[in-house]
């Protein structure tokens, strides 16, 4: 069964002025859709090859599955961990009390965490993502950066992801990516982050499963 584009939980212009309507529309309806289209194509080709006992043709699709599958997973998680700045979900103290406390005990304060996360995001060399994750086993919070469309898929629970591909901000911020990161803090859906943190991997990936 092919994967389909998940609906956004808000309108394309709902994240303005942090992220413009034009960016959201292209990012969702074009970029995310392309990852899904190419994922479905690669899955179908590899399944056909496998059913014919053709390991070489099957293996040839794995890179495309990893890349486009990662693109689908990452963007699905990303849309859910954003919300309009006016929403009650955008207030970390009230929307994410448990996570907020864990962040404060890990980094000293929410502001110090934001500064550390921002520095990691701006240090990415090329396309990629920054994630706040709950580490497998220890349950500790960590900041990780992943290149291109690598996804948080092995063990750790993704809590909060920020897309640092140029397509995520270029039409509005041009080469000023620091301003994009500064403004994205206003539209974080802390309620979603809290649910992922308090719950587990299954809760984090729930939106993804709904669109299979």
């Amino acid at each position: 069964m092919p994967y389909t584009l998940p609906k956004l939980p808000y309108a394309y212009d709902a994240l303005e002025p942090s992220i413009s309507k034009q960016i959201m529309e292209l990012h969702h309806s074009k970029h995310h859709q392309t990852y899904i289209t190419n994922l479905n194509k690669a899955l179908e080709t590899s399944a056909t090859a496998l059913s014919q006992g053709n390991l070489a043709d099957h293996a040839a699709q794995l890179s495309a599955i990893r890349f486009n599958g990662g693109g689908h997973i990452n963007h699905s998680l990303f849309w859910q961990n954003l919300c309009p700045a006016s929403s009650a979900d955008a207030k970390p103290e009230t929307a994410a009390p448990t996570l907020h406390a864990a962040i404060a005990s890990t980094w000293g304060s929410l502001d110090k965490f934001k500064a550390a996360f921002t520095a990691e995001l701006l240090g990415i060399q090329g396309s990629g993502w920054g994630w706040l994750v709950k580490e497998k086993g220890t349950g500790l919070l960590r900041i990780v950066t992943l290149a291109n469309q690598e996804a948080v898929v092995v063990g750790d629970t993704p809590i909060l992801g920020v897309d640092m591909w140029e397509h995520a901000y270029y039409l509005q911020y041009l080469n000023g990516k620091a301003a994009y990161v500064e403004n994205i803090w206003k539209i974080i859906n802390w309620k979603t982050c809290e649910a992922r943190f308090v719950g587990g991997r299954d809760d984090a990936f729930v939106a993804l499963k709904a669109n299979m």
């Binding site: 292209l26 060399q125 469309q149 140029e166 270029y170 080469n175």
Partner: protein
Amino acid sequence: MPIRLPTTSLRTAGQAVRGARPASVVGGITFARGKATLPDLSYDYGALEPFISGKIMELHHKGHHQTYVNGLNSALEAIADAKAKGNDMQAAAVAPLLNFHGGGHTNHTLFWENLAPNNKGGGGEPEGSLKGAIEKDFGSFATLKKQVNTALAGIQGSGWVWLALDKTAGTLQVITRPNQDPVIGNMIPLLGIDAWEHAYYLQYQNRKAEYFENIWNVVNWKTVAKRLEKAA
């Protein structure tokens, strides 16, 4: 027909970044007093229109390339400081930044030079010994183009595609480099195409295949031929 726009103000802005002191040129890379500096373009920002917009060229050169130049100089300074203190490990830790920003500076410098507007030799097809080498190693110019465009479309993230000379084998090859990794070792870069989203997004958005198709109209084959001659 190339569209010519009045780009005087853009050009002036482009020249303002040139270092006041005489710069030396090493392998196409400009240094002034031991520091990397932003090279001037040999054409106006708007000169590659309609294939690459003037806005893209201006941001790409004055914004992005300048950032690599600054990052390279900071990395070189950090290494010099660490070496002065005899701290080799601290110097080695700067290597990723040196590779990224040094690569960014080198790649963009080569890129500007292997592009040209139609009235300054951009577009058309390779000639002479370059044409011969391409036909020997790819069969035809059309096949080379196809290979390059396939490589460009296949990049998963940011990166570059190069037509390069493999010095050991003596053959031309199409190679991909992620992010700002420079073409080094026994590979000699002849023609580079920037596949970062910043290279086309303002004009082409998600339609990158159109950018890859259009950029052939502004490839400076004379530069590519000169690089091959020098390397062979």
